[in-house]
Amino acid sequence: MQGYVEISNFSCGYPDFKLDGITFSLERGMLAGIIGPNGSGKTTLFNGLTGELLALNGHVWLNGKNVPEMKLREKAQHIAVVSQFTEKVDIPVEEYVMMGRYPYRGKFQFFDSEYDQEVVEKYMRLTGVYAYKNKWMSQLSGGEQQLAAIARALTQEPRLLLLDEPTSHLDITHQVQVLNLIQRLNQELGLTVLMIIHDLNLAGEYCNYLVMMKNGKIHAKGTPEEVLNYAHIEAVYETPVVTNHNPLSGKPAVFLVSEKVMEQSRKKPE
C-alpha cells in the first residue's frame, strides 16, 4: 500500500556527496523527524524534497502526485517549507505571513482577498504571532521569527509541512514552545509534518516516526522506540550514550556520557 508521502529509492546531491536509495513512507497525519549527525545527508534530503536539488533517481509522491514534476506554484500549494535561517528582513510580520498566499495569487492581483486575510488572521492567532503582527520581522527574537515563519507556512494551506531544524538556536522555552505548536498543528489540523531535528530527546518526545541517516543512507527508520536505541545511536553517532525512558511520557531518552565517566565505568567491574 502506498503511503501519503512515499519516497522511494530517492537520490539527489552534489558531485562529491549523493544520497543513496532513500526509501520511506509516511502516513497522513504523521509527525516525522529526520535525525543523524552532521554531514549525514539530512539537509541534502531536505533540499531534494523541496526541489532545491534536482532528483537524480527515484520518486517522491505526495498524496499520489509526483512531486518533482510539479510546477513551483503547484508545489508551493502542496508543500510549505520553513528553512533553518530565519528572516532578518524589514517586512511587517503581517505582510510576511501574507506571503504564504502568494502561490494562490494571479499576476496582477496586487491586493489580498478577504479569504487571504481570514487565513492569515486565523494562523497568526493560532501561532500566537498575532500579538506582534505590526512589528518588523527584523525586530523579533529568534523564537518569534520561527513562529512567524510557521504561520507563513500554514497560510500556504499545505498538505505537507517541511521544517529544517525548527529549534536550533532557540533556548529550551522556545524549543518547547515551537515543538508544542508543531504537535498541536499535527494533531488538531491533521497536518503531515516532516522535520529535521538535531536533539534526539526532543525527536523521541515529539515525533511518532523517525528516519535516522548516516553517510547519505538511511540507517534505521520506525517509531522512536525502534530507532532510538543504544546500538543504532552508537553506530551512527560513534559516541557512547545511555538510553532510558522519560519517566513522565515513557518516550525514549538519551543521555550523553563524558569521557571521564566512561573510563570510570569501564574500570568499575575490575
Partner: protein
C-alpha cells in the same frame, strides 16, 4: 481588524502615487512655460489652440519633447535601478554598475572616432550606443551563465568588470583621436535631454511605459525575492525566469536611455533609495513610486541645468550627480541605523 490596517496602507500608497503624479504634472507644466521665452501658464491653452506661431513652436517642438524625455528617461533609470536592486538584493546596484552604460558609451565613442556620423548622419549615435549596451548586456549575461543557471553574484562582478573594460577602451579611443572628436565624446558622455529626433523621444516614452507595466506583473516575485532566492522558490516563484526577464528588460531600457540621453548618473541609485525610505520596500508601490519620482527628479534637474548659467546650459549629468550625491549623503546620515 486586519481589513482596516490593510486599507490604510493602500490609501497611503494611493496618496503617495497621486502626490508624485501631481508633482510630475506641475514640474512638466513649469518646464513647458519656463525658459528664454517666458510664457504664462494661463496663456498656454491659447498658444496650443493657435497651432502655429513662435510660442506654439517653442512649446511643441522644443520644450515638449524635452519634457517627455525627462519624464521617460528619469522614470526609466529610476525604475531599472529599483528592479536591479530587487533581483540582485543589493542596495548599491544601479543601472550603470552592470556595464550597460559603459558599453553604450564605448559604442558611441567608437562611432564618433571612426566618423561614421559623416556617412550615416547623427542618428547613428544613439544606434551605436544601443548596440554597445546590447553587446555588454550579452557579455555580462552569457559570461555569468553556468550550467544553464545564472549566478547573481557572478553576474554583478562581471558587470563591474565589463564596465571598467569599456571605460578603459573609451579612454583609449579618446587618447588616439583628434581634439574635435574627443570633445564630442565628452559632451555626449555628460548627458543631455536635447534630443532632435522626435521618433527617439517617442520610442523612449513608450518603451519606459511598457517596461513599467510589465514589471508590475512581477511585484509579488520581487517582494518574495526579498526573503532570498530559495525562499522565493518555496513560495512558488520561478526565480530563474523572473531574474532573467527583469534583467533583460531593465538592461534594454537602460541601454535605450543611455543611447538617447547619454549618461545621467545617480538617478537609478538615489531615487529608489529615497522612495524606499518614504514608502518602505513593498514593490507594489515602489515601482510606480520610483518611476514617478525619477521623472520628477529629472524634470527639476533639467530646469536647474537650463537656468543656473542661462542662456547657456549645464550638462544634466553634472546636476543629477551633484544634487543626487548630496541628497544621498544627507539621507545616509539621517538613517544611520539602517545602513
Amino acid at each position: 481588524m486586519a481589513q482596516s490596517t490593510f486599507k490604510k496602507y493602500h490609501l497611503n500608497w494611493l496618496g503617495f502615487a497621486g502626490l508624485l503624479g501631481a508633482l510630475v504634472v506641475v514640474a512638466a507644466l513649469f518646464s513647458l512655460s519656463y525658459g528664454e521665452l517666458q510664457l504664462k501658464l494661463k496663456d498656454m491653452p491659447g498658444y496650443l489652440r493657435m497651432g502655429e506661431g513662435l510660442e506654439y513652436m517653442v512649446i511643441t517642438k522644443i520644450r515638449l519633447p524635452r519634457v517627455l524625455l525627462a519624464v521617460s528617461v528619469g522614470g526609466a533609470l529610476s525604475l531599472t535601478g529599483t528592479l536591479l536592486q530587487g533581483i540582485y538584493r543589493n542596495p548599491l546596484v544601479e543601472p550603470y554598475t552592470l556595464g550597460i552604460s559603459g558599453g553604450a558609451a564605448l559604442g558611441v565613442a567608437l562611432a564618433i572616432v571612426l566618423e561614421i556620423t559623416a556617412v550615416l548622419g547623427e542618428f547613428i549615435l544613439p544606434v551605436a550606443g544601443f548596440i554597445g549596451s546590447f553587446v555588454s548586456i550579452f557579455l555580462v549575461y552569457s559570461l555569468s551563465m553556468r550550467k544553464g543557471t545564472v549566478n547573481i553574484n557572478r553576474m554583478l562582478l562581471i558587470g563591474v568588470m565589463i564596465s571598467f573594460i569599456s571605460s578603459s577602451g573609451m579612454m583609449f579611443l579618446m587618447s588616439i583621436t583628434n581634439v574635435e572628436n574627443m570633445h564630442s565624446i565628452v559632451f555626449w558622455i555628460m548627458g543631455s535631454l536635447d534630443e532632435p529626433s522626435t521618433v527617439l523621444v517617442q520610442v523612449m516614452l513608450y518603451a519606459s511605459l511598457i517596461v513599467l507595466i510589465i514589471s508590475l506583473a512581477f511585484t509579488r516575485s520581487l517582494n518574495a525575492l526579498r526573503l532570498g532566492e530559495a525562499k522565493a522558490r518555496h513560495l512558488g516563484i520561478n526565480t530563474a525566469f523572473v531574474i532573467r526577464i527583469l534583467f533583460i528588460l531593465a538592461s534594454l531600457l537602460t541601454g535605450l536611455s543611455v543611447a538617447v540621453a547619454g549618461i545621467i548618473g545617480f538617478v537609478g541609485l538615489v531615487i529608489p533609495h529615497l522612495v524606499r525610505l518614504v514608502v518602505g520596500n513593498d514593490y507594489r508601490i515602489l515601482l510606480i513610486g520610483s518611476f514617478l519620482s525619477g521623472s520628477f527628479f529629472l524634470l527639476v534637474c533639467d530646469l536647474l541645468a537650463r537656468t543656473i548659467i542661462a542662456p547657456n546650459e549645464l550638462p544634466i549629468g553634472v546636476i543629477t550627480g551633484m544634487v543626487g550625491g548630496v541628497i544621498f549623503i544627507v539621507m545616509l546620515n539621517r538613517n544611520k541605523s539602517r545602513y
